[in-house]
């Protein structure tokens, strides 16, 4: 085994009573790609934040290149050759690539000289690692995949020998992810060390040399990737056997519940985001919409649920039209049996500052069950919340706890419990398991299938192709605001991936 690039010895970190990292030992060999997997809250981010200088470990030692290192700030980490690519990019949107790369690492008081110097350095890096990006492009005009390359360039420009990537493929198409992996392999061949944090086990299998699994703040195992399996890793992460693919019977599709015809939606800038889309959803089936984030799925969901105004087209709910031009009232649609689990539970589906029980009536606060005249019926609301907590196994089981203090998976369960327990005829769900840990994913998927089997019409939008394939009875693929194909659940990932990248669509257009 090669010499260790990083050694973490006996790292402990507590936030109050929460022991985010307990006695972590980890050795990352130089010139390898090392994966770290674990559920949300397992302590991966905390560990990497300690390595990158955001937090200080309570005890333990970090060695970089064999030497004990004291990393108090990200600048210390950068000086030691550690670079980090964050899940949410840290780029200035209206700056050029070049300006972003030198930001904070300007070599001269005058920008012009720094830029000239950076340009030649950047060209060298791009050549060396196959990271082609136009240095003069404005960030906000670049696709996400290229923005991520800029983040990598930033780290390399600062002399990173060790690159940490936090959930790098969450926003990428399968093709873009493949390209990223090629870049990572090239970095490895050049002797760089890559640490990949992810919850996607397939990626771990595809690219890493070694993988470490974290659970509840401890490092439970480190395996050579060649010698492990997805099933073993999932079991290590959760601590029990997990069904990665939910089992379901044949769909028994009935009457059309939701009919979307020629729907066109523009965003606030006036750009057409949903372009003349038509589809139906029948009772007792799950229709999945696959696509890379930003291809109009969000706008489609918002238009159907009455949050966003549509430009043209029609949506029929149980054969009766929804008023789309006047921005239909989401409350009225709820009364008509259309429930919506929004993509963004932090800002839309929940009010994080509220107590759990207050969120369990959001959108249904007009329901006479929860009211006494103009007053809230606090007892009824809390009892109702307690019932849902029990039924959906929401933890901790405290309806007075602030919603922000629940984990991502439990927050999602709060939203799902609220929407499903209203017994809607149509359920539309955006990103059902984003940021949700493996154990909760299984629970949520089973619930969605159960809804289907009760004869509800379910629309699922997700950027997770696995999820779409596992849940859907029919798969629609969205690209650039259009539905570019419909496939059955047996469609291969490669086929769907091509559709999501717009390949077939572009060929057809030519």
């Amino acid at each position: 085994m090669a010499q260790a690039a990083i050694e973490l010895i006996g790292i402990n970190k507590s936030f109050g009573a929460v022991r985010a990292n307990r006695d972590i030992n980890l050795e990352i060999a130089r010139g390898t790609i090392h994966g770290i997997v674990g559920e949300n809250g397992a302590g991966k981010s905390t560990l990497m934040s300690i390595l990158y200088g955001f937090y200080q470990a309570d005890s333990g030692e970090i060695r970089v290149g064999g030497q004990p290192a004291s990393i108090k700030t990200p600048n210390d980490a950068i000086a030691l050759g550690i670079g980090m690519v964050h899940q949410h990019f840290m780029l200035v949107d209206n700056f050029t690539v070049l300006e972003n790369v030198i930001l904070g690492a300007e070599s001269d008081a005058l920008l012009k000289r720094s830029i000239a110097k950076a340009r030649s350095e950047l060209e060298r890096l791009e050549r060396e690692y196959g990271l082609e990006v136009d240095p003069d492009a404005i960030i906000e005009e670049l696709p996400v995949g290229l923005q991520q390359r800029v983040e990598i360039l930033k780290a390399l420009y600062r002399g990173a020998e060790i690159l940490i990537l936090d959930e790098p493929t969450g926003v990428l198409t399968p093709a873009e992810a493949d390209h990223l992996f090629r870049i990572l392999r090239q970095l490895k061949e050049q002797g760089k060390t890559v640490v990949l944090i992810t919850h996607k086990l397939r990626e771990i299998m595809a690219i890493t040399d070694t993988v470490s699994v974290m659970r509840q703040g401890t490092m439970v195992a480190t395996r050579e990737t060649k010698k492990t399996t997805v099933e073993e890793l999932a079991e290590l992460m959760v601590g029990r056997r997990v069904l990665l693919r939910v089992e379901k019977g044949e769909a028994d599709a009935g009457a059309i519940k939701l009919a979307v015809k020629n729907l066109t939606v523009k965003d606030t800038r006036g750009v057409t985001m949903v372009d003349d889309i038509s589809f139906d959803i029948r009772a007792g089936e799950i229709v999945g919409i696959a696509g890379v984030a930003g291809n109009g799925q969000s706008e489609l969901l918002e238009a159907i649920s009455g949050i966003r105004r549509a430009v043209s087209g029609s949506v029929m709910l149980d054969g009766k039209p929804i008023d789309l031009t006047g921005a239909a009232d989401p409350g009225e649609l709820r009364d008509r049996g259309l429930a919506h689990v929004p993509e963004d539970r932090h800002h839309v589906g929940l009010v994080l500052a509220f107590e759990e029980n207050e969120n369990s009536i959001l959108g249904y606060h007009d329901d006479p069950r929860y009211l006494k005249g103009p007053f809230l019926n606090i007892d009824a609301i809390r009892n109702d919340a307690k019932d849902k907590i029990a039924k959906y196994d929401i933890r901790p089981a405290d309806c007075r706890l602030k919603t922000a203090n629940f984990s991502g998976g439990n927050q999602q369960k709060i939203v799902l419990a609220r929407e499903m327990e209203q017994d809607p005829g149509v359920l539309i769900v955006g990103q059902p398991t984003r940021g949700v840990d493996v154990g909760a994913i299984e629970f949520i998927h089973k619930r969605l299938i159960a809804m289907r089997d009760q004869g509800k019409a379910v629309l699922v939008v997700s950027v997770e192709l696995d999820e779409i394939r596992s849940l859907s009875d029919r798969i629609l693929v969205m690209f650039a605001g259009r539905i570019v194909g419909e496939r059955g659940p047996e469609a291969s990932e490669g086929e769907l991936g091509l559709l999501m990248a717009g390949v077939e669509h572009q060929e057809a257009a030519q």
Binding site: T46, V348, L350, V351, D366
Partner: protein, 379 residues
């Protein structure tokens, strides 16, 4: 990454932290007093004795507090709906007009207990209408409420100046104010309550609108935490997107919240106008609307906190006046500096000591801070 600190127990959150902030504010103020060559300890004694030492002082403190309870509640109601109502000053000022109309019309005909309810309604309606216009502009046109309410303060002031030096001024008078009200528009004093406890009161303006302020504090609590409307306001205040999702009309909720806020601001005018001066004079609000912002922030937007913060500011006003009188080196401006320091530490720098206190609590008794419920968000 979620915050590494969790919530504190309520008593520390609402009690300990404000007390520490206040203490620091007074320490810094003490240095200012020292700088002008006076003894800060003696100044503190004078301040507190001036405010609470004698019956008259207490009555004055509570009189000022009454005003600040109304304006603090006004700011808080808007703030719960995510709106920063800087226009409390103007809404209170223009509401003086509504009171003037009621009082000048009925003060020789009706007894106070009939004039008072009419004046309450008039002040609330006028204040609410003055809040309605910026609210409508915000809801329908996106004009920022901070800007429009500031502008409306100036408009209100100009209108009042015009009316008080013109149409509302008795012809024979030179003072820019209405004629003095008759007994039918004078609110009964509450000084006897303090006298029950054995204190002597010479003359002080504490009046029945103090009780109205306390009732309003209770009603605001009821509104915000116990009604559907309050629930909708808080939803919108925390997340307009969540409100849209929940089917809450943006226009309706902004306008409703601002009208309630304006109405509370308007009722503030009852205290000085009917309780003390018995006329509507120029600049009778004199900054109470802006103090209301500090009171609301310091009271953490909760009616109980607002009542306590209002009493604190009442104390600063009354004790400060005594201080300026007793210590010639300390002018009225110095008092404003001390008040400013309190606002700075209790309002603007409210979170300065919080992380340290939370860390302290966490190290002593982790369970008390509810840490077990909080998980750092993973990768």
């Amino acid at each position: 990454m979620s915050t590494p600190y969790a919530k504190l127990p309520a008593w520390a959150d609402y009690g300990l932290i404000p007390v520490i902030n206040l203490f620091v504010a007074f320490v810094v103020a003490g240095f200012v007093v020292l700088l002008v060559g006076e003894n800060p300890f003696r100044a503190a004694v004078i301040l507190v004795e001036g405010a609470f030492g004698k019956g008259t002082g207490i009555a004055f403190t509570l009189f000022y507090a009454t005003t600040f309870i109304f304006t603090g509640l006004s700011v808080a109601v808007a703030a719960h709906c995510g709106l920063f109502n800087i226009g409390t000053e103007g809404q209170a000022y223009i509401a003086g007009l509504g009171i003037a109309v009621v009082c000048l019309s009925f003060d020789s005909v009706l007894p106070w207990w009939l004039t008072f309810p009419l004046a309450i309604v008039a002040s609330a309606v006028v204040g609410a209408l003055w809040g309605l216009i910026p609210a409508y502009l915000q809801a329908k046109r996106g004009s920022h409420i901070v800007i429009t309410t500031i502008m409306f303060n100036f408009i209100a002031a100009s209108i009042m100046v015009y009316l008080l030096v013109g149409p509302l001024k008795p012809a024979a008078s030179q003072a820019p104010q209405t004629r003095n009200f008759f007994a039918g528009a004078e609110l009964p004093k509450l000084n006897w309550i303090i006298e029950l406890f054995g204190a002597k009161i010479r003359s002080a303006p504490l009046n029945i609108s103090f009780l109205l302020a306390l009732i309003m504090a209770f009603l605001v609590w009821l509104l915000i935490w116990r009604t559907k409307l309050g629930y909708e306001m808080r939803t919108y205040g925390h997340s307009p997107k969540a409100a849209r999702y929940a089917g809450i009309s943006e226009t309706r909720i902004i306008i409703t919240a601002m009208m309630i806020s304006g109405a509370l601001a308007g009722m503030m005018a009852l205290n000085p106008v009917m309780g003390d001066q018995h006329n509507v004079a120029i600049d009778f609000v004199s900054g109470a609307g802006f103090v209301g912002i500090a009171v609301a922030l310091m009271g953490r937007l909760h009616p109980i906190g607002i009542v306590l913060a209002a009493i604190l500011f009442g104390m600063l006003y009354q004790g400060g006046a005594e201080l300026a009188f007793e210590m010639p080196a300390i002018s009225r401006d110095m008092i404003v500096i001390i008040q400013g320091l309190v606002i700075l530490f209790a309002g603007a720098l409210e979170h300065m000591f919080r992380p340290y206190i939370q860390a302290l609590f966490a190290s002593f008794s982790p369970r008390s801070v509810g840490m077990e419920a909080v998980k750092g968000k993973g990768a």
